[in-house]
């Protein structure tokens, strides 16, 4: 990766990441996040992790983020008039995060990075290499992942599906108000996103 390309991409990544946390409007935050994710995908590809880069774009940027978009719309979350929250808490948060970054950067600076001493083989980062690892050394992890996704599907459906009506008694006011909002229509979609990912 050449220096100017790195500089450009890194700046883009940082600016968009800051955009995520600075934008008032959640949709704008989301857009910034998508840009960050895509830039990261480019980094992946530049670092030789081509497959992972594309997967990042397909799943992360292409599917998971749509899920966020849905929910923002479903709930009609508007831009905040003015950030609530305590100033002290916020500055503490910012300070803590800054300290963390400083420390990590210091570590990055001191880390004896073996500057890609190893010239990766042509197969590095290809889907074949990845698959071979997935189905041998990481077999258990891979299987666990499938269960994890099942858990997520079941969980998301359990939480977001339409509230069942009471069989015996009349629907309680709370239940009625929930079904009246009509937000349930797309609720199954939420869970389906998980499956598509």
């Amino acid at each position: 990766m050449t220096a100017w390309l790195f500089g450009f991409l890194a700046t883009l990544a940082l600016v968009s990441a800051l955009g995520v946390i600075l934008q008032r409007n959640p949709v704008h935050s989301l857009m910034a996040l998508i840009v960050t994710l895509l830039v990261t995908a480019v980094f992946f590809i530049a670092l030789g992790a081509v497959t992972i880069g594309f997967l990042q774009a397909i799943i992360y940027a292409g599917a998971i983020m749509v899920l966020f978009l849905f929910v923002i719309w479903l709930l009609n979350i508007q831009a905040e008039e003015r950030e609530a929250g305590h100033l002290a808490l916020k500055s503490f948060g910012a300070l803590a995060a800054a300290a963390l970054v400083a420390e990590l950067l210091a570590i990055a600076g001191r880390a004896p990075a073996p500057e890609a001493a190893v010239k990766p083989s042509p197969a590095y980062g290809t889907i074949a290499t990845l698959a071979a690892a997935l189905f041998s050394h990481y077999l258990i992890a891979f299987e666990a992942t499938s269960l994890l996704l099942l858990v997520a599907i079941v969980g998301a459906v359990a939480l977001a599906r339409r509230m069942p009506r009471r069989r015996s008694t009349a629907a309680s006011p709370a239940a009625a108000s929930v079904s009246a909002t009509g937000q349930d229509v797309s609720a199954p979609e939420v869970s389906r996103r998980a499956a598509s990912a």
Partner: protein
């Protein structure tokens, strides 16, 4: 180095121009094709200098669609509704079009040719993981539509946007399953390689096209692709009768034109992908590196450039046929209901795709041993 860059740029421009022209052509075909199907004349008014009549084809309306339509659209007022998110409203159409256009970069329109000592692959960009790239760009394409719907500050638009994104995400899965089946069959992610391995024949007469190995995947990809392009019968996001015009209700002028272009570019994209995956891409049946060898054993020698040109022509013919097929479907079938659409996607396409995948895997493993 410079030459390589130049070749790359030229290839990119060529592909871009081809796509743009293809979309224009599709627009014309849509106008006149629908007229034909519905037994009416169709666009026929604009008649620059009486050119059409002079050429003896006043009813083709080529000028209408190729010239008058764009001019009209690009000169109309660009209206942004009150309360809209101006930036995203402006960005959305391009966000929709861009991913579709860049997808074409990896589509091989012909075999490699050698010009002046440079081996040129007729493919704007040759990545290792073309198939993943295609899926990635298609996945990103959702945002233009979705944001366009949201940024318009209009209920119909938003609803259209939501529908569009849900639909696209859902059918992306089916599409992915189809692509994976194809990739497994050919053992490569490179589209050029996929095309290449579709050369030759089985049984001495049957072209080794993907459609004969993966008919299920072909149908799946066709259906899913049409759903991705959000056209009838999957045009729930626009659904004039319910949502006015869906996500681009609030668009006018050039931005509207870009959305329309996206539509047609997607149709073209589906066609080229299906061609590449299932119809041998630039392969011409019985045509080999040095000429035709027909099933009977007849040999007809051809020069290298001629073979290459034939390949490109065959690719475009196949693509056009598939485009026409899609347009035909558009004017033949009624629109789905939204739940039908979802049910079809999730409860039919996905299971079928998974079964197909399992069957493919079994066949590969059994054949491999």
């Amino acid at each position: 180095m410079f030459i390589d860059l130049l070749i790359g740029a030229v290839k990119a421009v060529v592909v871009l121009l081809l796509v743009l022209n293809l979309t224009a052509l599709l627009l014309w075909f849509e106008r006149k094709g629908s007229a034909l199907i519905q037994d009416r004349v169709g666009a026929n008014r604009a008649n620059l200098l009486g050119l059409g009549a002079r050429l003896g084809m006043p009813n083709l309306g080529l000028i209408n669609t190729l010239l008058a339509d764009p001019v009209k659209l690009f000169t109309k007022e660009d209206f942004v509704p009150d309360g809209a998110d101006r930036f995203l409203h402006w960005l959305a159409p391009f966000l929709a079009l861009f991913p579709v256009l860049v997808t074409f970069a990896v589509v091989p329109i012909g075999d490699a040719v050698t010009i002046a000592g440079h081996r040129i692959v007729l493919q704007a960009a040759s990545l290792h993981d073309d198939a993943l790239y295609v899926l990635a760009t298609i996945g990103i394409g959702v945002y233009g539509i979705a944001l366009g719907g949201w940024a318009s500050n209009n209920r119909w638009s938003l609803l259209g946007g939501i529908r569009a994104s849900a639909q696209m995400i859902s059918y992306e899965l089916a599409m992915g399953l189809g692509v994976v089946a194809v990739v497994m069959t050919f053992g490569t992610l490179s589209l050029q390689e996929i095309c290449r391995s579709q050369g030759g024949v089985w049984f001495g007469w049957l072209p080794r096209w993907g459609i004969f190995v993966q008919p299920v995947a072909f149908l799946m990809l066709l259906a899913a692709g049409m759903a991705e392009s959000k056209r009838v019968p999957f045009d729930l996001p626009e659904a004039e009768s319910e949502l006015v015009s869906g996500y681009f209700t609030e668009y006018s002028g050039s931005k509207q034109a870009v959305f329309m272009m996206t539509d047609f570019a997607e149709v073209a994209l589906i066609a080229v992908l299906l061609t590449t995956f299932f119809l041998g891409g630039w392969q011409v049946p019985y045509l080999y590196r040095d000429g035709f060898i027909l099933p009977g054993g007849v040999h007809w020698a051809l020069s290298g450039p001629a073979v290459a040109i034939l390949g490109v022509i065959s690719f475009f013919i196949k693509t056009l046929v598939l485009c026409c097929l899609q347009l035909l479907v558009r004017w033949t079938l009624p629109r789905f209901r939204y739940d039908q659409l979802m049910r079809f996607g999730w409860k039919f396409l996905v299971p079928v795709g998974l079964l197909n995948l399992v069957a493919t895997a079994f066949v590969i493993v059994l054949a491999g041993h």
